[in-house]
């Protein structure tokens, strides 16, 4: 099938799944298989130059990193096609449940797996940048990680600590009832992968970042 024809077919079958914060997520078909089309739409509230810079950079970076991480065993959707000019990515559709929507005991349990995944990413010099419970999908007991729009290649302890702090913040705000248990479970998984000394180093940096926050630690 020619590219043009395939595109026509694809566009016919678009169904908006979610209007995300920075991209619209459509359900579509790619080669007869269910696929996700992620479009980073132009945002009219953002200055045009700034907007274009952000959208292109994130599209390219996301598609690179989402593929790279498979080489060290992190489950993520396959990338089918990338159009940096239109800021579009076609990726594999992962049919599962977002961790955010699981029952509380299951969230706590899955957090250990999430900890392992984040540990693997960090060990291989990748920061996810947007670690929320809605960015992990459970499919038949296997955990997939999605949304690498804010991901970066970095080995800095500070950057890895930012990842952890964000996850902690999300647990604190959206899953307040199980925050303690979920966080302990996450750290257990994280420690298993990165080892005790790195785990401690990153955690210390997390408290450094927290103390930088407004009204966090003064008197």
């Amino acid at each position: 099938m020619s590219f043009k024809l395939r595109f026509k077919l694809v566009y016919k079958l678009l169904k908006l799944l979610k209007k995300g914060a920075e991209a619209d997520i459509y359900l579509t078909l790619w080669d007869g298989k269910k696929a996700i089309l992620k479009i980073r739409q132009k945002k009219d509230y953002r200055n045009e130059i700034l907007d274009k810079r952000i959208r292109m950079q994130r599209t390219v970076r996301e598609s690179e990193i989402i593929s790279d991480i498979k080489s060290f065993g992190v489950r993520s959707p396959l990338v089918y096609f990338v159009d940096p000019k239109k800021c579009e990515i076609y990726i594999q559709y992962v049919d599962g449940t977002s961790v955010k929507d699981l029952s509380n005991p299951k969230i706590i349990k899955t957090c250990e797996e999430i900890g392992k995944i984040v540990g693997l990413l960090h060990k291989n010099g990748i920061m996810h940048g947007d670690l929320t419970t809605s960015n992990f999908i459970v499919q038949k007991g296997k955990v997939f990680v999605i949304d690498f729009g804010l991901a970066q290649r970095t080995d800095k302890t500070e950057d890895h600590a930012i990842d952890l702090r964000l996850f902690k913040e999300i647990l604190n705000s959206a899953h307040a009832h199980i925050m303690e248990k979920a966080w302990i479970s996450f750290l257990k998984g994280y420690k298993k992968i990165v080892g005790i000394s790195r785990h401690n180093r990153v955690l210390i940096q997390v408290s450094v970042i927290e103390s930088r926050g407004r009204y966090a630690n003064v008197v």
Partner: protein, 327 residues
Amino acid sequence: MLGLGIESTAHTFSCAILEKKGKKGKILSDIRKIYRPPDGEGIHPREASRHHAENSPEVLSECLKKAGVKMTDLDIISYAAGPGLGPCLRIGAVVARSLASYYKIPIYPVNHALGHIELGKMLTGAKDPLVLLVSGGHTMILAFLSKKWRVFGETLDITLGQLLDQIGRSAGFASPCGTKIEELASKSTNYVNLPYVVKGNDVSFSGLLSATKQIIPKGLEDACFSLQETAFAMIGEATERALSFTGKKELLIVGGVAANKRLSEILQSVCKRHNCKFFVSPREYAGDCGSQISWTGLLESSTKQGVPIEETFVRQSWRLDTVEVMY
């Protein structure tokens, strides 16, 4: 029920009297005196507290007079107990304590940030909003969940108000500088590349501050324009992330920077994208004022007794997410 509120966390010394009937509130009076540091300088806590001390009698008597209320008519007195500048907070607390003990009126310490939110909700009618609190002391995205305001995103370093003020001061303006920057920004459309830092739901402005200072010599108006575009777009994105994560159908902006038109415009566009209602505090009550303290005190008095005088502390770094909301 009548409540006096005393606000003195930073620049502003303000007294306000509100009346609460059922769930409805009415502002009877709100008098303010604002400390103005010399051009190009920031707030000096000692000087600000001196200003507050000197002006407190006048503000208080004017507030009573305008409301047509006598001290003995008051049911409760509330004061801003934090977060804020220690010397300034103490002035408000001293005034509140003296009045409460002399007239034997119950006294309530109130969290200043909570005050912004509660007054915003009262004035706009927002029910269950995602709140964006942007001021000199705060840059936070909050949502209410089981008795507390939970932080979904915040600044990792300086606040939006500080960013604008520090840029303004380095250009020699009198702080607060938000209005002046907005005015200059409207004269340019030339965008200069500046660092855009969104980390999940959080933002960081420190790099943007340094980078903007460097481009000021090349053109102040361009710098102001690019600064606003970048900083507000960051806030817009962080808010969008929080909206899409929480699924809230209302957005409320409160705090001093809420008065900025460009920011409102950006957030309105965000709301449109997410089919969400947009509320913004009226300009007059967006910034620090006694009403926010008085109203929150009145709300608290519906479930709590006043605090014994010996426990009426001020807390300079009293984080909003540690306050339990019982009403």
